[in-house]
């Protein structure tokens, strides 16, 4: 028996990998997966790193796997999208050392720009096996087994935890880590690892991609056999003609719902893809209807429908293709409503509570008080207003500048899309200045490619790089501009001015706590033809404070009520949570409890009412 600890699902996943003897862990930060990488740090012999993007992380892990070393790339769903091109090759070559992809999904988009179901990408499109855990405890067991099976089948295995598994906290048993790991070795095998359109005489001249596709297709039978015996799928007997299928968190919600349902309905728990076909067929024997609860798309539902069609089984299959909500997270009430609707004779007690008759204001996210982004965003807001500019935004802390009150960025899509989007906006010839705002972690992720493209195509776009030297949004992970590795070793940070010089782009480095300097640089960039770069450079305030480093000299600021005319510029164009407007007095005030004395608002106020 190992030691029992109360830990996050992400810690359980990391521990599972370490117990399985993982030697290389690489990822790019993204909620809800971030802590999985961080929790692997500090184990002797295990290389753990933040890569500059998920594709790099995955490719690096594959390199390690080819040396018979166990490796784990870690990412959120957007990262898996980014990896798709590589995934559609490594599925054909297969791997050597166990390779387990962690692809964390965020149903409901709790901390994401979109919601999606990466089971479809990995299983349907890349034909690779997926485990869908129902709890932190099961996630740990699945990771361990996935490493073994990955080696046995020579295929990448994927664990797809959702936010409620990653961020759950539960009691997890920690077992010993392996004392010794097999030594790495490498033998070339060009028949497998050179993915190219080579003609293969032994296959009648067919090209290698087709033959490798055939290899992957043949693996499916082995996978199906393995899943048939998997401990992650089981049947719980019950009464009646309506059966329930719970996949991952869907199972968890059904178990939660059982206490509100009289009698026990037959239940099939599914944690694997491919599906355990024989188990499924034995489950539905005698049933008239099944309801499938899964996060988030009707994926298992559609796979079941195909199997029933092949087997000529006449059964009603209900789920997230319209019977249950087709978007968002599952929850207790949705599951209870679903059971009630599917089985009119089943007695379901849906918990009710009295309504609340009071207005509850929404609390939107904003930059921290003292954040340097607020300075450059304010300067940009003024410039955009003066020249009728348009701003394409990106992922990161600065995205809050697109919300009320500042409402600056007009578009935000995915990592790195700001510069190409802005380029497209700029080249249409609207005669309006176009800006891209991108943080430095996102810049190194792939935003740099957009900048190179703008440079090589002479596109008149103004790129603002918010260089706070860390991936702040996800909790201060280092990136290529930080100058330190995840393990804390010093490295050489990327020199952005030299990079810009080599691309032939004009650049200006500004201090975001100096709004006047920022504005001058932005105006100069607007007046200049061709691409230009503004590097707004200052370490993250929050991280610096935690480290006891000063990024500004704190000063006491106050509002001179006689000068304040209630114009609200300091609120609408600046949005500092320490400043509030008083309707009765038509004046603003600064809350001393919240203010950290960055002094930016002094320059924001055009009437000199803040000093």
């Amino acid at each position: 028996m190992g030691e029992k600890k109360f830990v996050m699902g992400n810690t359980a996943i990391a521990r599972g990998a370490l117990e399985a003897g993982v030697r290389v862990v690489a990822g790019y930060p993204g909620t809800p997966a971030t802590e999985i990488v961080e929790e692997c740090v500090g184990v002797p012999g295990v290389h753990v790193e933040w890569a500059n993007n998920e594709k790099v992380a995955f490719e690096l892990c594959t390199g390690a796997s080819l040396c018979h070393v166990r490796a784990m790339p870690v990412m959120k769903h957007n990262g898996t999208n980014f990896v798709t091109d590589f995934l559609m090759h490594v599925n054909f070559t297969g791997i050597r050392g166990g390779l387990v992809l962690i692809s964390a999904d965020d149903p409901g988009g709790l901390s994401s720009q979109n919601e999606e179901d990466t089971r479809i990408l990995v299983h349907q499109y890349a034909h690779l096996p997926v485990f869908d855990p129902c709890s932190p405890k099961e996630a740990k067991a699945m990771v361990k087994m996935a490493f073994d099976l990955s080696e046995k089948t020579e295929l990448v295995f994927c664990l797809r935890p959702v936010t409620r598994v990653c961020h759950a906290r539960g009691i997890i048993e920690f077992e010993d880590l392996p004392k010794e790991l097999p030594p790495p070795h490498y033998e070339p095998d060009r028949e497998r690892f050179i993915m190219s359109a080579v003609e293969l005489p032994q296959f009648g001249g067919l090209k290698r991609p087709q033959i490798r596709h055939r290899w992957l297709n043949e693996k499916q039978n082995l996978l199906k056999q393995i899943m048939e015996e998997s401990p992650f799928n089981w049947i719980e007997k019950g009464e009646g003609k309506v059966g329930l299928i719970g996949c991952g968190m869907g199972y968890t919600w059904i178990k939660e719902a059982e206490q509100f349902v009289e009698g026990k309905l037959p239940l099939l728990k599914i944690g694997t893809l491919p599906l355990p076909r024989r188990l499924l067929l034995s489950f539905v024997r005698g049933l008239e209807k099944i309801v499938i609860f899964e996060e988030t798309e009707p994926f298992v539902e559609n796979l079941c429908k195909t199997i029933f069609q092949e087997e000529k089984i006449n059964i009603e299959v209900l789920g997230r293709s319209g019977f249950l909500p087709a978007d968002g997270e599952l929850n207790l009430l949705a599951v209870l409503e679903g059971i009630k609707k599917a089985g009119p004779t089943v007695k379901v007690n849906i918990p009710e509570t009295p309504p609340l008759d009071i207005h509850i204001p929404i609390r939107t996210r904003t930059q921290c008080v003292g954040c340097n982004y607020r300075g450059i965003l304010n300067a940009l807001k003024q410039t955009v207003r003066k020249y009728k500019g348009i701003v394409a935004g990106d992922i990161g802390c600065h995205d809050a500048g697109s919300f009320r009150p500042i409402e600056l960025q007009s578009t935000i899509y995915c990592m790195g899309s700001s510069v190409p989007m802005a380029s497209g906006l700029a080249l249409t010839g609207m005669n309006r200045p176009v800006f891209a705002f991108i943080g430095d972690s996102t810049f190194y992720h792939n935003g740099i490619l957009g900048l190179m493209n703008a440079a090589s195509n002479k596109i008149n776009v103004n790129v603002i790089l918010g260089e706070n030297t860390v991936t702040a949004m996800t909790g201060f992970q280092p990136h290529p501009g930080t100058g330190v590795t995840l393990a804390g070793e010093k490295t050489s940070p990327v020199n952005v001015p030299k990079l810009a010089e080599s691309m032939g782009i004009s650049y200006r480095v500004v201090n975001p706590y100096d709004i006047k300097q920022c504005r001058e640089a932005l105006e100069a960039a607007v007046k200049e033809a061709g691409p230009s770069l503004i590097v707004s450079s200052m370490p993250c305030y929050l991280l610096s404070t935690r480290r006891g480093q000063k990024v500004f000299e704190p000063r006491e600021v106050q509002v001179n009520e006689e000068r304040c005319n209630g114009c609200m510029i300091c609120i609408n164009d600046f949005g500092c949570p320490a400043i509030s407007y008083h309707k009765d007095k038509k004046k603003v005030s600064i809350d001393k409890m919240i203010c950290v004395g960055c002094g930016l608002c002094v320059d924001v106020c055009q009437r000199g009412a803040i000093s």
């Binding site: 109360f6 539960g170 207790l332 204001p361 904003t366 409890m593």
Partner: protein, 195 residues
């Protein structure tokens, strides 16, 4: 026996520390514990809610559903209201009467309900509530960050489930050395807040 607890507040209030103390306490009493928290962008002043589920039996969902919580700890007024319907109206709430305006409140574009209105809505929903000025006390003791330990102290006073001495030990174990003494003082003063 089961005890489902919600702790709601604003990023930076020490919500997660409180949730870890309560969870470790329950574990030390050999209960099963499962929980969840919303994190991520929380340190930027967003809403933070922790779910803690304690039971002597199996626990499935890490999330507490409508009307199922036995205890709601509101570290901020509006954040308590936001999650009030998770509380069983026969349960208990402990509210810190702190009001942290939202960005839109600051802009004058959205109204933050006044304290009386909030207290009335809460009382109407659930008669068994305690309202304390935990942040005021924490600030008086030297650091508003101690709001969480003050509230844990008050909790030990109102819920017999939480044994004072044992919770105190766990607060101590989880406090960084330089905050240990202050945290224990906050805990003790929080206990005295409720007569």
């Amino acid at each position: 026996m089961k005890m489902d607890i919600i702790i709601s507040g604003v990023g930076g209030q020490g919500n997660i520390f409180a949730s870890i103390v309560i969870s470790q306490y329950a574990m030390s009493k050999n209960f099963n514990v499962l929980g969840a928290e919303t994190i991520g962008a929380a340190q930027r002043g967003g809403s933070v809610v922790s779910h803690i589920r304690i039971s002597d039996g199996e626990i499935y969902s890490p999330i507490i559903s409508r009307g199922q919580a036995d205890l709601l700890i509101g570290m901020e007024c509006v954040e308590m209201l936001r999650h009030l319907r998770l509380l069983n109206p026969q349960g208990t709430y402990l509210l810190n009467s702190l009001r942290i305006p939202t960005v839109l409140n600051n802009m004058g574009l959205d109204e933050y309900p006044d304290l009386q209105e909030i207290l009335e809505a809460a009382r109407k929903y659930c008669p068994n509530g305690y309202v304390i000025e935990a942040s005021v006390l924490a600030k008086k003791l030297g650091n508003i960050q101690m709001t969480n330990v003050v509230m844990l102290g008050a909790l030990a006073r109102i819920m017999p489930f939480f044994e004072y001495e044992r919770i105190k030990e766990i607060v101590k174990e989880n406090s960084p050395a330089r905050f240990q003494e202050a945290n224990l003082q906050g805990f003790a003063e929080g206990y005295k807040l409720i007569s």
